[in-house]
C-alpha cells in the first residue's frame, strides 16, 4: 500500500560518494555511470510520468540538458516509481512519455529503487548534481530543481546555480534545498 507509515525525513547526502551504477534506458542505450570516465559531472533528476508537479518540469529538463551537456554536464532522468502501484510507470509507459515530451536525455528505470535509496530521494522531482573528484562521483547538490513550479520565467534555478559554480571551480553556495512533489513510496517502507 502506497504511503502508510511513511514519515519522510531529510537525509543529508552532500559530500557522499555515489558508487557507479547501471540502469535500463527507455529511450536509448542503457546507462552505466562507469562508462563516463571523462565527464565532469551529471545533473540527476528523479522524476516520473504521473506526478502533476514533475510534469511541470519536462521542458526545463530538456533546456537544462541542452545547455549543460555541451559544457560537459549531461542530464539524466531516473524513474523510481513502483510500476505495480502506478501502471503508467512501466518501461513501455516511460517510452511513450519520453517520446511524447521529446526528451533529449536518457530516461532510466530504477525498477529496484536501489539508486533512489542510495540518493535518499524523497519526491519526484528530486534533483542532484554529482561531480567527478579524484576518480569518484560526489554529490554536490540535492533538492529542488528551482523555486517555481508553474512559472519557469520567474524561477531561480538551484541546479543551474550549482552547476555554474562548479564549472567555474567555486563552492556551491546553496548545496541543499527542500525538494517537493509526489512522495516516492519505497517497497518495504
Amino acid at each position: 500500500m502506497a504511503s502508510a507509515n511513511r514519515k519522510p525525513t531529510v537525509v543529508h547526502v552532500i559530500g557522499n560518494e555515489v558508487k557507479p551504477f547501471s540502469l535500463r534506458n527507455c529511450n536509448g542505450k542503457d546507462f552505466s555511470l562507469a562508462d563516463y570516465r571523462d565527464t565532469k559531472g551529471f545533473i540527476l533528476v528523479f522524476t516520473c510520468n504521473h506526478c502533476p508537479f514533475a510534469k511541470l518540469y519536462m521542458q526545463r529538463l530538456n533546456e537544462m540538458n541542452a545547455k549543460y551537456k555541451s559544457l560537459g554536464v549531461p542530464l539524466i532522468a531516473i524513474n523510481p516509481m513502483d510500476s505495480n502501484i502506478y501502471e503508467e510507470e512501466t518501461l513501455a509507459g516511460m517510452q511513450s512519455w519520453a517520446r511524447e515530451k521529446k526528451f533529449n536525455f536518457p530516461y532510466l528505470q530504477d525498477a529496484s529503487q536501489d539508486i533512489a535509496r542510495m540518493f535518499h530521494a524523497t519526491h519526484t522531482p528530486d534533483a542532484f548534481v554529482i561531480w567527478k573528484k579524484g576518480g569518484k562521483w560526489i554529490i554536490r547538490y540535492s533538492g529542488a530543481i528551482d523555486d517555481n513550479g508553474e512559472k519557469p520565467a520567474q524561477a531561480h534555478s538551484f541546479i543551474g546555480l550549482a552547476v555554474d559554480q562548479l564549472l567555474s571551480g567555486k563552492m556551491v553556495s546553496k548545496p541543499e534545498t527542500l525538494s517537493f512533489g509526489c512522495a516516492i513510496s519505497y517497497r518495504g517502507g
Partner: protein
Amino acid sequence: MRKIYCLRLVLVLLAPLTPIHAQYKNLWIPDTISGKTFNLNIRDTFSQLISTGNQTITGGINGKFWGPTLFFQKGDTVHLNVHSFLNDSTTLHWHGMHLPAVMDGGPHQIIPPGTVWQPYWKVNNQAGTFWYHPHLHEMTTEQLIKGIGGFIIVRDSLESTLPLPRKYGVDDLPIVLTSRKYDANNQFITTNTAYGDYMLTNGTPNAQVSLPKQIVRLRLLNAETERGYNLGFSDNRTFYIIGNDGGLLNAPVAVTRVKLLVGERVEILVNLSGDAIGSSIDLKAFNSGQAFGFPGGEPNSTGQFGSLLNNIDFGVLHINVAATTTNPITSIPTVLANNTYWTATDATVSRAISITDGQPGPGNPPFALDHTPFVLSYINKTVDLNAIEKWTVTNNNVFGHTFHIHDVQFKIVARNGNAAAVGAYESGWKDVMSVPVNESVSFVAKFEDYADALHPYMYHCHFSNHEDGGMMGQFTVNNPASVNPVSAKPIDFAIMPNPAMDRLYVQLADQANSVYYLTIVTITGRTVLMLPQPQLAHGIDISFLKPGNYLIQVMDEKTKSLSTRSFIKQ
C-alpha cells in the same frame, strides 16, 4: 472608508497576515453537487496560496483545494463514485453519517492510487452540516493539511419548511476554518506541527465576503489539526446557534461566543439588518487568555506547539455588508426542530474511556485512549445492535482533547456527572465533543440499523496528529440474533460477457447468497475497483478500465470467504 482603513491597520498590528498578502481575498465558496450520484475525483494539484514565489502543493477534490459541497436529501439512497488519482493511498470518511461500516471510509476502506471506490447508503441523517475527509491511519494529518475534504449538507422536509436562510453562497454559507505553516518553498508543513501560522478560510488567505443586510446563516466547520476557535464577532454582537454537528436544535440559543473544536460543526444565524451597507464586521477567534489545555492557547509563537496565532485574538473572516436580497429572512425563528433526545436513564450499557499518556518528554508514549494505542486488526469494543449506551470519556490528562465516534449521533447528558453542566450551545445531536482538562463528558447514543461483525467503526480524538499517533479505537456493532454459518464453501458465480467491454454481469449460482464486497484487481495485484455490498442486478461499469486481463474477487456476505474469477476487458 476611513473606518475600514483603520480596521485594516489594526488588523496588521494585531494578527499576522499571509506573507506578501496585505489585502483581503474574496472568500472561495465551494461548488455544489446535488442529486443521488456524486462523482469525486481526488487529485494532487497545486495552488498559488502565497502571492509570490512557488505554488503550494495541495490536494483537491474536483478542484484545486478542498472539494464540492454535496447536497443530500434525507431518505435518498446516494451513490458516491470516488476515484483517487492521488500519488498516495487514501480513504474518504463521511463524517457524521449513519451508514454501514463497510461504507464508512475509515482506516479499513483504503483506496489505493488510481482506484475507484463506490460506496452507497440511504441518507438517514436529519438536515444538518456534515463533512467528508481522509481517514488513512498515520496519513490523516498530512492529507487533511493538503486540503482534501468537503462539506455535506443534508436537507429534509422539516428544515425546508422553516423560515431559515437557504440561498447557498448568498445568505447561507459553508465556512471551513483552518490554518497553515509554510516552509521556504511555500509548501505546507505537515510534520512536527500542531498549529498553522496563517488562516485559510475556505482555503482563502485573509478572506473577505460580502453578505446581505439581513439574517445570514453560517455553517462553520473546524477542520484544523488541533486548534480550537472561540468564535464571536468583532463588536461582540449576539448571534444564534441553530444547529450542532447532527442537525438543528429545537430552538435557537443566543450567545456572544461559541467554542468550535476540531471536527465540530455549528450553524449560526447572525443579523446584519442593522448594519449600514458598506460597513464591515469580522468573525473572530477570541483565543487569548483561554483556560489551560485549550488547543491554540499555548504561549509559544514558534516551535512544534507554537504559532503566530496562539493565545491571541484574530480575524477569521472579514464581512462586508451589502444590499439586501429579494425575499430576505428578517427575523430569528423561535422554533426549529422537534428532536426527542436520549437521557442517561435510557442507556442499558455504560462504558468508560480514559484519555491517557502524551506526557511531554522524549521516550514518553503518545496520547492514547485507555493506554491502548490503535491497532488496525484489534477490535476494542463490541456493541449489540439496537443497544442504547452511555459512554463517559474522562480527561485527567495534560491537555484538552476532542472525542468523535463514527456511525451515531449522540446526546451529551453530563459534564463531570452533572446534567446541568451541559451547555445549551451543545444541547443538540452531536458526533464530536470537547473534553477539556480535568473534565469527564458523558453521552448517550443508540447503535441501530447496521450490524457488521467484520468491519468496525472508529472512535478517536479528532486532533489528527493525536489520531495518527494512535489515540483511536474501534468497535463493531454485532447482531446477537445472527447465526454463524456452518459451511465455509466459497461462493460460486459466473461472469458474462467474457471478454467484456462496457459492463460486466455477475451471476450467483445460489440466489440465496449475497455479495459483501467485490473488488476488481489487475493481474499484478493492483486494485482498480472497490464495490462494498454491490447491487449487481444492473451489472458493473468497467468502461473506464484499460484493456487487459483482470481478476474479480467476490466476498460472500455470510461466510466472508473469497472467490476469484478472471476476465478480459476489451
